[in-house]
């Protein structure tokens, strides 16, 4: 659930460090549960993952990066929804505490790999990132958006077929919630098309105040 930073400059490293500290505290408080990665419940956590998985064709063997994987909740959903799919999974998270929890929780699944890091660990068919752009804490919006761009750039470089991310939706007439990052689909579809040379699809209206951006490569 926690995000990383692809660039090497100091402000982005500071963001990564504050995000790491934040999510490690949340995990410590709630344990490896939906609340432990700052979601309201397992159901809404899975509903987000269902949208992200729309970028994947899991009918054939696939490799998958789970960026900001938290304790590896995606593995549970994959097992339930795609029990026969051949998926080479690698979860990465900037929080060592999260990766520790993930390794413990999924110790009986040795083919699932986890690593601590701020970048995707390898090039895979698909990369997914759920909730990694939502909690900006006290980072200024412009700096946070550079952080988002750096992560999207890394997802693009590390994905052969596509990647998917989600954002909190800015609601008309309502003030932004302090510490959270809200956006519009246009802001990030434009970036993915112009800067990352992807085709994009926006998934919205799935019951949550957010949208999911599916980015496909080479379409």
């Amino acid at each position: 659930m926690t995000a990383g930073v692809a660039g090497g400059n100091r402000p982005l490293r500071e963001i990564r460090d504050s995000v790491e500290a934040y999510y490690s505290r949340v995990l410590e408080r709630h344990g490896p549960t939906a609340r432990g990665v700052d979601w309201q419940c397992t159901a809404t956590q899975y509903l987000r993952l269902v949208q992200l998985l729309k970028v994947c064709d899991l009918g054939r063997p696939s490799s998958l990066n789970d960026f900001g994987c938290g304790y590896g909740a995606l593995l549970a959903l994959l097992a339930e929804r795609f029990p026969d799919a051949a998926i080479d999974y690698h979860g990465v998270d900037v929080s060592p505490a999260m990766i520790g929890a993930a390794r413990s929780l999924w110790s009986a699944k040795p083919d699932a790999r986890f690593s601590v890091g701020a970048k995707c660990p390898r090039r895979a068919d698909y990369s997914l990132a759920s909730g990694v752009f939502n909690v900006r804490l006290d980072s200024p919006v412009d700096r946070w958006e550079r952080y988002v761009e750096s992560i999207l750039g890394d997802l693009r470089r590390r994905s052969g077929k596509g990647f998917a991310v989600n954002f909190l939706r800015r609601k008309r007439g309502q003030p932004p919630v302090a510490g959270l990052y809200h956006s519009t689909p246009r802001r990030w579809t434009a970036f993915c098309v112009k800067e990352l040379d992807c085709t994009t699809e926006v998934v919205a209206n799935y019951g949550l105040a957010e949208f999911t951006l599916l980015a496909r490569i080479g379409d």
């Binding site: 419940c41 397992t42 899975y46």
Partner: protein, 141 residues
């Protein structure tokens, strides 16, 4: 109920239920979740739905008491002949969430001495609002 949970948790869980099924975004979320995961289908218990939705106290003892209360609803009748309280709630929530005019839900309770069963109705239960709700009332002691 008082034997299963401390009084203060009863109010908390009732407030949380009413918030998660309230008009607007919460109800939209619940409708989407029912469509995607069918939490209130016959293959899930109210206990498993509550766990999935995190509609339970965080205090471990209160959580156990709440789940026991939900399980015990199988042993109480309802306003639908031959349908126990647990299944009545599950069925009416499912039907409501899947209907085009899904209503927000107001959860309340009544004394078992008034009525032994789960009661379902529609109406405007909030004195400050004319909005129509699905009203589910569970018997408590």
């Amino acid at each position: 109920m008082g034997k299963l949970m401390l009084d203060r948790y009863v109010g908390d869980i009732q407030a949380e239920l009413n918030f998660r099924f309230s008009p607007g975004d919460p109800l939209k979320e619940m409708i989407a979740l029912q469509r995607e995961f069918a939490m209130f289908s016959n293959s899930h218990t109210l206990m498993s739905a509550a766990a999935l939705l995190n509609l339970a106290p965080s205090d471990p003892a209160a959580r156990r008491g709440w789940f026991t209360f939900l399980a015990n609803l199988r042993r109480v009748p309802s306003d639908r002949a031959g349908v126990n309280g647990h299944n009545r709630i599950r069925s009416v929530l499912r039907t409501n969430l899947l209907s085009p005019g899904a209503k927000p839900v107001h959860f309340t309770h009544h004394s078992v001495q008034e009525n032994r069963g789960v009661l379902v109705s529609t109406g405007a239960p909030l004195v400050f609002s004319r909005r129509q709700y699905l009203i589910i009332s569970a018997p408590v002691t």
